[in-house]
């Protein structure tokens, strides 16, 4: 079992004719993902690595029954690509693109409230159900099948934590990189809810970072609704206040909220142990599963 993606998922890759889109479409297929179509305006009729390309996502849905989109469209056009995927009544859209203007995402956010489609990202590595399918750019080889759900705001940090788990023989149901942008689709709370409802997920790793209040909200949600044991990690403990570190999200305002301390203490209060190192996170999960 898993959440959101499995080997039945039928994927359309938006932007499949671009360098990134083509490379990762191939990587996804190599991993076993069922990539059924590409969608690129004015490129319909072509084939990319054996995958038929359509001019619109709607055609890909009509012709190939695609139910999930992975978006590798340049930032200037990515907002429109997300709107197109939402309008096509897909189950899931995964936006990998980094650098989408924030105002475009605010409009997407409004539309999300009006549709049934779930968005992951943007500016995220995607998600993977080990042994079944991956959607996005995660390096498949570090993952293993298992019973730990993982949700993270950061891409490479996810890999690091997964590596620690896999090296100990602890596999994952699904790992979700939700992205570090100011406005994202699926957030911690949404992902935690999915894992809580998944009977095969026996423990959850949640990797947060400084900035915003998503981790604090997640802690409150865990406290109230999540019975599955959760271990946390917060990156940026040593970040000085007021400095922006990479992600738009990772800025510490210095006003007490959004700091590593505030997040760690909120999680601890919700019964979530927070590791000092990725290995410590794996220690906690090992204990949960023992």
């Amino acid at each position: 079992m898993s959440v959101l993606v499995d080997d039945d998922t039928r994927v359309v890759v938006q932007g499949i004719t671009g360098g990134e889109g083509k490379f990762h479409a191939e990587q996804m297929m190599e991993y076993g993902t069922n990539v059924v179509a590409g969608a690129v305006p004015d490129k319909g009729g072509q084939e990319v690595s054996g995958v038929p390309v359509y001019d619109t996502v709607h055609e890909a849905v009509d012709e190939e029954n695609a139910d999930t989109s992975v978006i590798f469209v340049p930032p200037a056009f990515a907002g429109d690509a997300i709107f197109e995927s939402l309008d096509s009544e897909l189950d899931l859209a995964v936006a990998i693109t980094e650098g989408i203007p924030t105002q475009d995402m605010a409009r997407v956010n409004k539309r999300l409230s009006e549709t049934e489609t779930r968005l992951i990202g943007p500016n995220c590595p995607g998600l993977i159900t080990p042994g079944e399918a991956k959607l996005g750019i995660l390096p498949g080889n570090i993952f293993a099948e298992g019973n730990v759900g993982l949700v993270s705001r950061s891409g490479t940090l996810t890999y690091q934590v997964v590596d620690s788990l896999t090296n100990r023989g602890i596999g994952q149901t699904t790992a979700i990189g939700i992205g570090g942008d100011p406005i994202i689709g699926t957030d911690f709370v949404d992902a935690l809810e999915l894992f809580e409802d998944d009977p095969d997920t026996d423990a959850i790793v949640m990797c947060g970072e400084i900035g915003g209040e998503d981790e604090e909200e997640a802690a409150a949600f865990i406290d109230e609704y999540v019975d599955t044991p959760v271990a946390g990690f917060i990156a940026g403990r040593t970040a000085p206040p007021g400095k922006r570190m990479g992600h738009a999200g990772a800025i510490v305002s210095g006003s007490g909220t959004g700091t590593a301390e505030s997040k760690i203490s909120a999680l601890n209060d919700a019964g979530v142990p927070v590791g000092d190192t990725p290995e410590e996170v794996a220690d906690h999960i090992e204990e949960f599963l023992a």
Binding site: P139, I142, S154, M245
Partner: protein
């Protein structure tokens, strides 16, 4: 991208927001002639983007040519919190009876824009937000509709603005939202929005930050001259290279890919008793040349005693990283600072094979790599 006050004021004025008469000047004579033209009293305002310009002596009110000359003399060329002042805005001094605050920003938590109005203008609005949050009226905007006129009125009346100026303040707020929306603003603020004895409102300051990710569709703004990055020269260099870089106080240089992982590396340095010298994220998919630039950056920092290079490849490939490290280090007769490398993820084995282990120390895990780098830094300090 943060516009200068003079640039933001031009943008605001073009949109119809009342601003004081003003001219930009870059030498003393220019200041005096601008002041004569505008008419005394005028304010002479340093055009650098740091908070608290006034307190730091960067804004002076002058009544005549002598004072103008004196002010220009003292402000032009001064160092204001690490920024060199080479231009001032000479601006009509406005007699006011009230100072308001109006602003638009993105409320990240709500995922939508928010308009803010307060009668506590003219002071640090972040402090007001902290100490007296109810003094700021907030109205969230649905970005698909834009700001409705009634929302501007509601924010203005909720803030307790006088009825006599409510219409004008609403109109300024509506225009400000329009600008924010049209120009891909991150923040747009007027603080203070002055109210005169005649119930006129006038934007005495102007802040406009543009979403960097949207500059591609804001050609006019993208062309505006950006401030020469002030302050730390390494941060200027990072800017040129296009790295996310923050300089810190320690001696362990840190390079990695992905903000979360780099922050984690910093945290581990701290955890193992070391002190991070910097945050440096090479980003996703870095090629060899970029990796070499990153090493060059960190070597340029005199405080750095050792370097930890932590790459977990997703779209970044281990072989490219290894090649970049080799290239960067092979040009030295002697490696300036010990470099510990840890490669994982995509093509890590290839990378390991490529790496010249005469030049770097290779570790298999993040923990080992960080500990080794902390050790090296300690050894240097012990020398």
């Amino acid at each position: 991208m943060k516009l200068h006050e003079y640039q933001a004021k031009t943008v605001f004025a073009d949109a119809g927001i009342p601003t004081p008469d003003s001219q930009l000047a870059s030498d003393v004579d220019g200041v005096v002639s601008a002041a004569e033209e505008i008419g005394y009293p005028v304010a002479v305002k340093a055009q650098v983007q740091v908070g608290g310009r006034g307190k730091a002596g960067g804004i002076k009110l002058v009544e005549d040519a002598d004072e103008a000359r004196e002010a220009a003399d003292s402000i032009l060329g001064m160092d204001l919190k690490g920024y060199h002042v080479d231009r001032v805005l000479v601006e009509e001094a406005v007699d006011f009876v009230n100072e308001l605050y109006v602003g638009i920003t993105m409320d990240r938590g709500e995922g939508k824009p928010v308009a803010m109005v307060s009668t506590k203008g003219g002071v640090n609005i972040e402090e007001v937000a902290e100490e007296d949050p109810d003094a700021i009226a907030r109205e969230h905007i649905d970005p698909s509709f834009g700001m409705h006129p009634y929302q501007a009125r509601k924010a203005v009346y909720d803030a307790g603005v006088d009825q006599s100026v409510a219409r004008d303040v609403s109109s300024v707020l509506t225009t400000l939202y329009q600008l924010w929306d049209d120009k891909d603003g991150a923040d747009a603020e007027i603080n203070p929005l002055m109210v005169t004895a005649d119930d006129e409102v006038i934007a005495a300051d102007a802040v406009m930050n543009i979403d960097e990710d949207a500059l591609f569709r804001q050609p006019e703004l993208a062309e505006m001259e950006e401030e020469a990055a002030g302050g730390d020269e390494l941060e200027q260099k990072a800017d040129e290279y296009g790295f996310d870089y923050v300089r810190l106080d320690g001696n362990v240089g840190i390079i990695g890919n992905g903000a979360g992982l780099v922050m984690t590396t910093l945290d581990l340095v701290d955890h193992y008793g070391g002190q991070p010298a910097n945050f440096l994220d090479v980003g996703g998919g870095a090629k060899a040349a970029r990796i070499a630039n990153a090493l060059d950056m960190v070597f340029s920092d005199d405080n750095v005693d050792s370097v930890v290079f932590n790459i977990f490849g997703g779209i970044t490939r281990g072989d490219e990283v290894a090649r970049g490290i080799n290239e960067a280090l092979e040009q030295f007769d002697e490696i300036p600072k010990p470099v510990v490398v840890r490669l994982a993820g995509t093509n890590w084995e290839e990378g390991m094979e490529i790496l010249n282990e005469d030049l770097v120390t290779v570790e298999q895990t993040l923990e080992d790599a960080v500990q080794r780098a902390v050790e090296y830094a300690g050894e240097v300090n012990d020398q």
